[in-house]
């Protein structure tokens, strides 16, 4: 008996010990292991989908869309807007001394490097996968395009950044590359990608939304333009025009319509759709920039300035004005067939007899008609009492849930009108006024504006004005203001902002807009703190400066 028990215990112990290394092997279950991934075409496709996901982190607004929106807020086109809540934007958009601490920029910075890391791994592993070679090359080129785009999105905001080019590369001691080095890298990558990527027309319907040759060339042209490489930009952009893959839509109003996602004008878009609560497949900007007092639940961030509105009016541009800005007390919203719902919504600010509306009548010279036939964007809650029409979705097109990451409106990253205007600018800068006028007038024709016949600096300025109106709220203005040289030898940004900046003088002067003047929840002196030697780039997030132990240097002026 004793012996039996003894030997049984010993036997059991020995058997177990013998198989100990098996016993001690426990893989993570339910998640695929990276070491054994990249075995098939399907896995490559899934992985590349994830690289696209990184463009805007799905529909999440706080990593990428937030900074995209803030980019326009840092210009004369857009206020932070929401005056009932504290924001994290003012540190940056009002050029505050604590801009380095901006959590928004930190999130964006982190998100972009996560995207870059995904792409780095893809570029290392996909070429070794046994699959259809042609498709494999395309997938690699798509990832290459995305990585270049992510770097571009960093460099245009922060200047030169650390170039992380291999997966798992040590970050300690890594320094920033110069802006020139970064742009050189981005250009090379985009050229490589453009040589392989299919044209828009070559993709199957199910692949719509993937990176195209046009997208790679378009971003390449922009990178060249941003550096003032006029001849190269001109050539690149001309290639897109000559390859005739794109055209302007007939109606400007369709450009940002849900019904015209991935249109022939569109060169690259963030793909979004309504996925219910189960999948966050939609975009967020519609809700983030929506009217705070309805219809729908808007957050009222990012409001058009009257300064921009004035620019439309000065240009006689009624068409693009109505498709770009919705203003309080309006009696129609372009493209909205259920405007009566918006009139009904006026009760959200109280009854017509309430003191609030009576005060508005007195302050803004309104009549009762405004309440009974107009749409009131509450001046008390909105800095400019205006909201963006481009991101607005008419009631008929809204999905069941009007909420962030549910909106099926693709975000237009690059479209043909931008390419035409970039081409016009590159031509004008390289003294080819004929081509410049042609491209400029193509864009103007659509919105029934007269042909521009000028040349030289006047033509160049006309192109600049056109960019502002055509591409308002499309993340172009900030980078244009930062790069455009003016007659006084300064960047245009320095003439718009600063104590004597045009935008500051207008808003703090006697001719300021009555709504913007009345609501000081966001101070009208935005831009007075602008510093020429500091604010032509965003600050590198302080977190990164601190954690780099001195390797990553801050931009000047901080």
């Amino acid at each position: 008996m004793k012996k039996t028990i003894f030997s049984l215990a010993a036997l059991a112990g020995l058997t177990l010990f013998g198989s100990c290394n098996d016993f001690l092997t426990e893989d993570v279950r339910g998640q695929e292991n990276l070491d054994t991934y990249f075995e098939s075409e399907d896995e490559v496709n899934t992985y590349v989908g994830g690289c696209y996901f990184q463009i805007a982190k799905g529909g999440g607004w706080w990593q990428v869309y937030n900074t995209w929106l803030m980019s326009d807020m840092t210009t004369d086109d857009m206020w932070d807007g929401n005056t009932t809540q504290d924001d994290g934007y003012q540190d940056i958009t009002h050029f505050m001394p604590n801009g380095q601490s901006s959590g928004i920029l930190q999130n964006f910075w982190g998100a972009r490097y996560q995207g870059i890391t995904s792409c780095n791994l893809g570029l290392e592993r996909i070429p070794q996968v046994n699959m259809d070679e042609k498709l494999r090359d395309i997938r690699v080129a798509e990832v290459r395009f995305l990585r270049a785009f992510f770097y571009f999105d960093l460099v245009r905001n922060f200047g030169g950044v650390p170039l992380m080019l291999t997966y798992g590369e040590g970050a300690e001691g890594k320094e920033r590359s110069s802006q020139e080095e970064c742009y050189k890298f981005i250009e090379d990558e985009l050229k490589q990608a453009a040589a392989v990527l299919p044209q828009r027309s070559q993709y199957a319907a199910a692949d719509m939304g993937r990176a195209t040759r046009g997208a790679a060339l378009g971003i390449l042209g922009k990178v060249q333009l941003y550096q003032g490489k006029w001849a190269e930009a001109k050539e690149t952009l001309k290639t897109i025009i000559d390859e005739k893959e794109y055209r302007l839509l007939d109606n400007f109003g369709d450009v940002w319509s849900v019904k015209y996602n991935n249109s022939e004008e569109s060169i690259f878009e963030v793909q979004q759709m309504y996925g219910g609560d189960a999948y966050s497949l939609g975009g967020s900007l519609t809700v983030v920039t929506g009217c705070r007092n309805g219809v729908g639940d808007g957050w009222s961030w990012g409001q058009p300035t009257s300064d921009l509105e004035n620019a439309f009016i000065a240009a006689g541009d009624t068409e693009r004005l109505r498709w770009t800005i919705i203003k309080t007390a309006c009696t129609e919203i372009a493209g909205e067939t259920q405007f009566n719902k918006f009139i009904e919504n006026n009760s959200s600010i109280g009854a017509i007899t309430d003191q609030k509306f009576q005060d508005y009548k007195k302050t803004f010279g309104w009549t009762d008609e405004v309440y009974t036939t107009g749409y009131i964007i509450d001046p008390a809650q909105h800095k400019s009492s205006r909201i963006i029409r481009k991101y607005f979705v008419p009631l008929d097109d809204r999905p069941e849930i009007y909420n962030t990451d549910k909106i099926p409106l693709n975000h237009r990253v690059l479209r043909y009108a931008d390419v035409l205007l970039m081409y016009a600018e590159a031509c004008a800068e390289s003294k080819d006024d004929t081509q410049a006028r042609w491209a400029l007038n193509e864009v103007r024709k659509r919105v029934h504006l007269s042909e521009v016949t000028s040349s030289g600096t006047t033509l160049r300025d006309a192109i600049r004005d056109e960019r502002r109106l055509e591409l308002a709220f499309e993340q172009c203005r900030l980078y244009d203001l930062r790069r455009w040289d003016c007659e006084n030898g300064k960047k245009m940004m320095c003439n718009v902002f600063g104590p004597d900046g045009s935008f500051v003088k207008y808003n703090t002067g006697a001719n300021a807009d009555m709504y913007e003047q009345w609501n000081q929840g966001e101070p009208s002196d935005k831009g007075t703190r602008f510093q020429e030697n500091r604010d032509l780039l965003y600050p590198i997030p302080l977190y990164e400066i601190q954690h780099s132990n001195g390797a990553i240097l801050q931009n000047p002026g901080w």
Binding site: K2, E26, D27, L34, N98, G209, V287, Q546, H547
Partner: protein, 723 residues
Amino acid sequence: MINKTALVQNYSLSVRGGNEKYLYSLSVGYYKNNSQYDYGYWDKINVRLNTEYNFTNWLKAGLDIAPNLEKWENTPELFSAAMSMDPTTPVFRPESEWDAANPMNNYQRSYNNQEWNPAASLARMDNKSTKLQVLMNPFIQVQPISQLTLRTQFGVNAWYQRNDYYDYAFHIDALEQNTKDKVGRNYSDALNWTWNNTVTYMDTFAEKHNLTAMVGFTAERYADWEGKAARQDVPGQSDLLHEVNAGTGDQFAEGKSTYQTLASVLGRVMYNFDSRYYLTASIRYDGSSKFAKGNKWAAFPSVSAAWRLSEEPFMEDARGWLNNAKIRLGWGKVGNQAINPGLFLSTLDNSVNYVFGTVSSRYPSAIIGQMGNPNLKWETVEDIDFGIDATFLNNRLNLTFDVYQKTSHDMLYARQSLLITGNPQWMGAITQNIGEMRARGWELSLGWNDHVGDFGYNVGVQLSGVRNRGIKFSGDGPVLAGDGLPESIIQNEDGGLISRFYGYQADGLFQNWEEVYAHTNEHGTLIQPDAQPGDIRFLDLNHDGKLDQADKKYIGNPYPDLMLGVNIGLDWKGWDFLANFYGTFGNDVFNLQKTRYSGASGQNVYRGTLNEAWHGEGTSNDIPRLSYNDLNQNYSRVSSFFVEDGSYFRCKLLTLGYTFPEKWMGDFNLRLYFSAQNLFTFTKYKGMDPERPLYDGNVLETGIDRAKYPTPKTFLFGVDFKF
């Protein structure tokens, strides 16, 4: 909404009995603890049965079994929200705006900040759990000869847990809403077992040589399973429909399994000569599933010796006053593998989607889920200890003294890293063997017990101190930790004390413009151009005329210089009294809650902020002026403004009891007692609780006050009844 008091009830009953062959004990307990909110409780019934049976004189077996049943409503974490909510916002909207269809919509959105209405959050709480757990510990012990014992023990800890919840749909504001209601159920169960097998040989040779030798093998496995299901859109308002089956909308499901294993081979020899000289040596060889192949196993030896000098013949004269004296010296290594499983693997996150197609359709995608660290290995803690135990004066006075040094080699730590690494973890944290850290400390415990007639008393004092120092951390720079402000609050560097706060030196407030303008360096550069009177003056330590990383220094240490425990016991004719005190001295707290003075983001501020904050020359030299945008970064810079002395001395427990005398009660034994926990505290600390911050975080990141559920005062009335 938050109550000052919460009721705790605790009942227990135990019996024990047996004979030479059979021993048993049984206890049954019931515990109920209400939360300090209007929602939430914890209910527990536990039973413990211990049995042991001697079959023959060489074979015995036993079984401990302890089932328990717990039920609770999840206690919400709303302290911070309740503190931040501005007091001018009413709980409810005006009654005229009430929504008859959904009363959850009747709460008021904050007028001034983004905090969700905590009363509304509380009203929506519907989250209940039930857990059934069984602990079992059967063993068989064989003693073929009296010196040899073979024992095998198989401990099982298994539980099953169910959680049911209902998320209300509500709309208080665009930013405070849930568009669809959701009903869900989560299941989890676990089976953890530990199998210990030992062979022990114990013998005495030549009367004075005592030897114990043991070899053993142990194996452990921890398995967890989880399944979750939920569905949206429950029709109607009835509680009866709060079942997943009743949902009509989107469906949600999750499920996963986690396994961890450990195995050890161990051996130990203990020897003593004549109960005077002791020697112990052991070695264990541990394997863990948490490390990759090649790093799974590590060996951990230890050696110790002791000398009981009071047994020496030459000490015979001293026995009158020295009852026992022993000197100990030990060295040993133990392993640590307390990290999440699977961290050495790089994995994909398949939960993301993108969209492609002319007709948009979901495109299941994958991103990097975890960047693993294949080089992870065991952390080794090397311990050297020297100690003295002694009792004097008829065992009335006892003393224990220890000095020790604990060195952690290859310390396991999730280190924040640069965001350019692209690591998807929060703050780019990656778990690694971060380097070497050393704790050197001492502990002294003194006790005295005696009686004067019927009056018995005892007093004990425990004193200790420890210094934790980083020796060498891997990588270039210091190890940063502690989030909550734009920059990391804590810095750990090679050779320095750990977890110290690192930031700017605040030097009071500017009282007037002259002082603002006077704050320049030697060349007259204005150091704080954005400051106004009432803002904090920060020191420009390197005199370069601006504030940057180079002006930071260590501004506080969360670890105390001295820890003190005192306990006092008294008894007199059936009365008994017990008091425990505990305190720490010389430690700092980073009072992150001071940001609540700022009123930034329209949040509530502390009562009296208006008067406490600077509002004119000479009104304050601590709390800066209230401002809309804090251009001086009073509240966003890591600075000594936040650092406060966290020393405290607290009465942890007071108990007064009375046992009824035998002559009244006969065979019954009845004791009534009243006790109070955390009754009073002496501290200069201005936050809620000086004790709590040191429990948060980890060894390299502690001492930041995050306003977690504070240590509550508890009053207990008890009845002990034995028969």
